[in-house]
Structures are given as C-alpha cells and as structure tokens.
C-alpha cells in the first residue's frame, strides 16, 4: 500500500485530482482508488514498464549543453495521468477556437489593411519593434486568411481553479508527438484503466493535421505532395518531426532535399529526379527559411522558398511572419484583439500582464520585482526569464537594468500559484506544478486536440515545466463522466 491519499498534501494550490485531504475530485475517484490498491512492487513494475516502453519506442528529445554538445534523452514521463472532465474541456475548447480565430485575423490584418493600428487598439510601434514582424510578408494573402495553422497555447490554472492562457506559440510549436506517445505508453502500461474510464481518444491528430495541410495546396489534386521540413536530427524536436511525417505518410525533408527553380516552384530531389512539392509543414524558424531573403548563411533553409510562397505556388505552415502575434507584448493585447475582430468577450482569460513599455506599469513592475515573473518578448522554452520570488537579489537587479534599457522587450506577470497534480516521486504521490499545451489547427475550419500535452515540473516547488529544463509530462485524459 504505497500511495496513501491521506498523506497527500495539496498546500495552497488547486490540485487537478484531489479536492481536499483524502477527497478525490469526481472524475478522479476511480483512478485514485485504483492507485491506492497498488503495492510498492506494483508501482515499481508500472514505472519500469513505462520507462522500458519509452526506451524501446525511442521517444527522445535532444538537449544542448555546452560541455557535452547535443545528447538524446529519454522522454521524462509520469505514470499518473491528469484528468479533465469533458464538460469543462468543451468550454476551454470554445475559448481556444475563439482566440486562435482572432489571432489569425490579427496577423492577416497586420500584413494587409492594418485596421487595428488605424483604430488605435494596438500601438503601431509595437509592430515596428517586433522581431517577428516580417516586412517581406506585407500584402501576402494566404489561403483562408490563416497564418498560424498550428498553434500551441499554454494553459495554466490558478489557486481558485480558473484557467488562464499563459502564452500562444504561433511559430513552430512542438510537443504534440509527446501527447500522442504518452497515450501509447499509458495503453501499454495501464490497459485496465482504459476499461474503467470513458477516455476520449487523441490519435486522430495526424489525420486532422494532414487534412488541414491538404487544404493549403495550390494545386487541385487528389493527393497533394506534402513534406515536413526539419532542421535535422540534431534539433531538439527532431523526434517529433520524424514522427509526424511518419504518421501522415509525408516525406520528411531537410533544406538540401528541396530546390526552387526559376519557375518559382518548389521541387524535391528524388531517386527518379525532381518532383513538385505542394505544401511544406516547416519546422524551421523564419530567419532560416530562405537564405535569399533572411539569414544568407542559413544551411537549413531553401533558397527561393519565399519567392515560391509569395507566387502562391506552395503552401507554408505556419506562414512566415505568423510569429508577430507570438510576442509577449502582443499577448497583453489579445483580449482587445478578440473584441476588435469578433465583437465578443474572451472566453478564456489572459494572465494579468504588465507592459513595461508603459511607464506606470514599468514602475510598478520594478517596485514589485520580487513578486513578478518577468519575460522577454521574443524568447521561448523558458529561457531568459526571471521568476522574482525564487531569484537572488543580483538576478533581480540584473532584470531591473534589462527592463530599463529595453522596456519594449519585457512584460511581467504576477506570480501565479500554479495548480498541481499527484506525481510519482519515489513510490509516493507528491504534488507537482503543471500546465497544459493543447494544439489548435486552423485551415478551412478550426479544430483542437482532445486535451493536449501536460507538462509537469518534477522538482518540488518548481514551476518550470520545459523539458529542456528538467520538466516531465503526463498523459492527459479528457473523460466523459456522463457516459458512466
């Protein structure tokens, strides 16, 4: 009898599974009683089975360190799932669709009419100073008006149980393959739990992705040629690039496999010669996409790709320049963006965000720096942030200097008390903080993954969930309790 819910302490946080001492939430009752029934030996067996499955399936991610270069690590996985009731999930789903729809209208507007700037809703210098705004994209009209075809939005829950959007990843969000593989691992390890619960499946994502990409094809053909463009095997998300290509039956290509001829058409080099490409799901950052236009020394990209895209001869997902809305300062304006384009109130809340570009807000942030999480506008992966309450005095002072020097580049948010879920530490369940990254696909219409990737901070008290910094993951179960 290893897991005793009576000893499980939730602290001041909202816990995803446990309501109070010894009281599981309704959707978690069966899971908790099942886990309580396991002996130490059982738990060890499950843990070994999961890690063996991950090892054998070769689920890895790559980490860069200065000492060792790049190394492959087994994907860190916790066997206790996170459960969300379908009724709650449906509300979140609506909110995500609304949000992404508005964000795409925003990007399309920025590169075309710029109505929102004219209306004074978003200040113009935000745009001019955005690292991710690409003047080369002005005037381009991608199909369906969609720029961010694949969006990964990070959701968190505070101590009152309210769900917030923490950030939107509109460039090349990763993690969806781990969501799919986590489910495979769970099915291998806990087949009996899948009989007890009505767990909604997640595995139609690759088909949805494929269908959406087909909609971007410039040619009206039954089977457009779709490729996944990867920077290569040393990229931290290479596993995912290969996985998605495999699941979709698409070619996985690197830049040197493709070429653009004078006819502005993209071809790939095959054993039978050159063959036309219709849609590229690119997993390379904008800056490396086309050495003719951006970094001229990029070895990863394809010379002429922008020409081909602007000529409408190839579909690119996500569109170049979509990252303009993936900016922590723009984030602060998203509620206004939703109201402006859709004339609706946001269904999902933003975390209250201070824009350091405004003097009042900046002064407040500097004064309360020890309570704030400070984020640079254009970084991802948890790099370059300050977590005020956990930082040293020297680190805080450094960030005050950084903010003063370049206020446009920083936003700050009050430290949220992130929700927790029971996580296996040794053979005991302990509370660890987590977030959730669902993926939203936009083409002719919008679809959302069933749940998403739950990332969990494995260190006690930590809220950093990024896998590159010691985060783990859980399977996410959207369960239909009405079917019970």
């Amino acid at each position: 009898m290893a897991i005793r819910w009576g000893n499980y302490a939730t602290g001041p946080f909202y816990d995803e599974l446990i309501k109070g001492r010894n009281k599981p939430r309704e959707a978690a009752v069966d899971l908790c009683s099942y886990l309580r029934g396991l002996s130490d030996k059982d738990i060890e067996e499950y843990r070994v089975a999961a890690s063996t499955a991950i090892h054998v399936m070769g689920i890895t991610f790559t980490v860069y360190t200065e000492e060792e270069g790049s190394i492959d690590r087994a994907w860190p996985f916790d066997i206790i799932p996170r459960i969300i009731d379908k009724k709650e999930w449906q509300q979140i789903e609506l909110g995500l669709k609304q949000r992404v729809k508005a964000l795409n209208m925003f990007i399309d507007d920025l590169y075309n009419e710029q109505r929102i700037l004219g209306a004074g809703i978003v200040p113009e210098d935000i745009l001019i100073n955005s690292k991710n705004f690409l003047p080369e994209c002005l005037g381009v009209k991608p199909k369906h008006g969609v720029w961010a075809h694949i969006c990964g939005s990070d959701l968190v829950r505070d101590q009152h149980g309210t769900v917030y959007v923490l950030e939107d990843n509109l460039r090349v969000p990763s993690g969806v393959s781990y969501m799919l593989e986590n489910r495979h691992v769970m099915k291998r390890v806990f087949p009996d739990m899948f009989e007890k619960y009505n767990i909604l499946p997640v595995d139609d994502y690759p088909s949805e992705l494929y269908d959406m990409l087909c909609q971007l094809s410039p040619r009206e053909v039954a089977q457009p040629e779709i490729v996944v463009l990867t920077p290569g095997i040393y990229n931290s998300a290479y596993f995912e690039h290969a996985y998605l290509a495999q699941q979709m039956g698409a070619e996985l290509v690197v830049g040197s496999d493709l070429e653009v001829d004078d006819d502005d058409i993209v071809y790939m080099r095959t054993v039978e010669g050159l063959s036309r490409v219709d849609v590229i799901y690119r997993r390379i950052d904008d800056a490396f996409l086309d050495p003719e236009v951006f970094h001229e020394d990029s070895m990863l990209g394809v010379p002429g790709l922008m020409r081909a895209w602007k000529a409408g001869n190839v579909g690119l997902a996500n569109a170049p320049g979509a990252g303009v809305a993936d900016d922590k300062v723009v984030y602060a304006f998203v509620p206004d963006i939703i109201r402006f384009y859709l004339n609706e109130e946001p269904l999902l809340q933003n975390v209250p965000t201070y824009k350091c570009i405004n003097k009042d807000e900046r002064d407040y942030v500097i004064e309360h720096i020890d309570e704030m999480v400070v984020k640079p506008a254009n970084e991802s992966g948890g790099y370059g942030m300050l977590i005020g309450p956990h930082a040293t005095k020297a680190e805080r002072e450094k960030f005050v200097r950084l903010i003063r020097r370049d206020p446009r580049n920083y936003v700050a948010q009050p430290m949220l008390l992130l929700s927790t879920a029971p996580t296996l530490i040794g053979n005991k369940a302990e509370a660890r903080h987590l977030d959730l990254r669902p993926f939203i696909l936009s083409g002719e219409d919008i679809s959302v993954t069933t749940g998403g990737l739950t990332r969990v901070a494995m260190r006690k008290g930590s809220t950093v969930v990024n896998s590159s910094q010691g985060g783990g993951s859980k399977d996410t179960w959207i369960v239909d309790m009405e079917g019970e």
């Binding site: 054998v56 070769g58 290969a242 070619e251 996985l252 690197v254 040197s256 080099r269 095959t270 054993v271």
Partner: protein, 306 residues
Amino acid sequence: MLSRVANHIYWMARYLERAENTARLIQVNTHLLLDLPRSVPLGWEPIVDILSIRENFYANYESADEKSVIRFMVTDPNNSGSIINSLAAARENARIVREIIPSEAWEEINNIHLQAKADGQSVLTRRHRFNCLNKIIKANQTITGLVGGTMNRDDAYAFLRLGRHLERCDMTSRIIDVRSASLLPQMADEHPAFENIQWIGVLKSLSAYQMYRQEMRLRVNRTDVLEFLLKRHSFPRSICHSVHQIKKCLEELPQSDAVCDQFEQLSTIVEKLDIHTLTQESLHHVIDEIQAGLMDIHLAVNKAYF
C-alpha cells in the same frame, strides 16, 4: 523517394548486415577452437584478414590473441567496422529514416544498439559470448522479418534489400576466401581429419550446415561446400543468391540502366565460375574479382541515385 532517404536506407541495411555477419564470424571461430586439438595453429588472426583490417588492428593491438581480436571486432570504437560501431551507424541511419521504415523495426534497431552497448565487455568471456552475439544475429533476423512482413514493396524496400545483399555477398565472399585460401592448405596435410571440421565451420558461420545437408546430401567436402556457397540459388546466403537478389532489386528501381551494366560484369564472373577446376589460387583471384565487382556496383548506385 528522396535521394537522401534512399541513401540512408541503403546504408542502414548494409550496417545491420555487417553487424550480423561479424557476429557470425566470431561465433563460429569460438566454436571451432573448442573442437580442434591444441596443436592446430588456428587462431584469431584470420578474422582480422577476412575483414581487411590488419593495419588498423596492429596499430591498436600488439598481438592477435582472442581477447584483442574480439575486443577490436565487437566493442572497439577505433574500428569503424566493429559491431558496436556498425550498430550505431545503422541506428543513426535508421533514426533519419524512421518515418519510412516500420516503427517496430526502428524499435528493434534502437533496442539492439542499446543492448549491445549494455553487454559491453561481457562478450570477451566465452561463457557470455554466445548469448551476446546471438542476440545480434537474432535482432537482424527479426528486423529482416519485420520489414519483410510489414513494409510496402516500393523503392525504399528495394534499396534496403540492395544494401543487404551487396553487404551479405561481400561478407560471404570474405568468409569463403580466408577460411579456404589461407588456412586450410597447411592444415590438410597434417590434420586431414580436421579438414572436415573446418569446412563444417565455414558452413556453420553462415547458418548453412543444415541446408547443405538437405541440398547436397553429401559428406562435407571442399568442392561441394564451395559449390553450395558460391553457385546454389537455393541457399539465401550464397553468393549466387545474393547476386540474383541484387538483380531483382535493380529491376524494380527506376533508371537503373547504368547500374545494370555494371551488374552484368559481376554476374558473368559468378556464372562462369567452375568449382571443379578451381585451385586455391584461382579461387582467391575470383573472390577478389567478385569484391571489386560489388564495389563497382556500389559506386554506380551511388552515382545513379544518391
């Protein structure tokens, strides 16, 4: 299919086949040593010669004793053809094309690489060796079965088989060459009784003993063993069989004219071969020709597709 991908699949198959055949070679030599009298000068040096790695070996080791040769051939990172390096290269190639090959095959390749790394030095002791090497042989047989049973019969599968049979043909020719040319003549006079055991060893290193008995129905002797391993279509590790498979692969692949021309030269050598008139010396010469022919095909494939 993408040229780059075809290249990786081809090499993945070659490295897997190389790892398996190297394991077979060590396996059978270990067993042979147990059967021969102490006075027989059979050692581990011929293995180094089979793989044409003499120079590299003596740059790293002083003498060709059992431990040194096995370490060099199985675990040594300085030997690009060591089993561990072959498996690592196979895995690296497989990793790049993992969206093309069945995922179970990738799992198996990944698994055998981890397993071989974990087994590490235990292969040096005879007691554990059989098990360690058998795992490698079985893994490649499993992979062969998995791809054969689940992969589309398309260009990717043709490149995979092309790599496999070029490598297998090469390894089989090396095994025949060294076992027959350099070792046996000196043996035959002094220990005629053991010549048989030697030839059985050759057969066993190719898992050919049982099939030989079924097909040839004769006592094991030089001419029939050579006939079986060089000329019989029926045995899947014979030179003739591999050559035939290479031809079939080329027929399936697009624009293979240039490679086919190159192939005809090799095919002629194998067809013309008459075992009954073959002296040791001419055998060695023919095998050199076969290996050169395989190399030319490899270069032609490289030029045409990669």
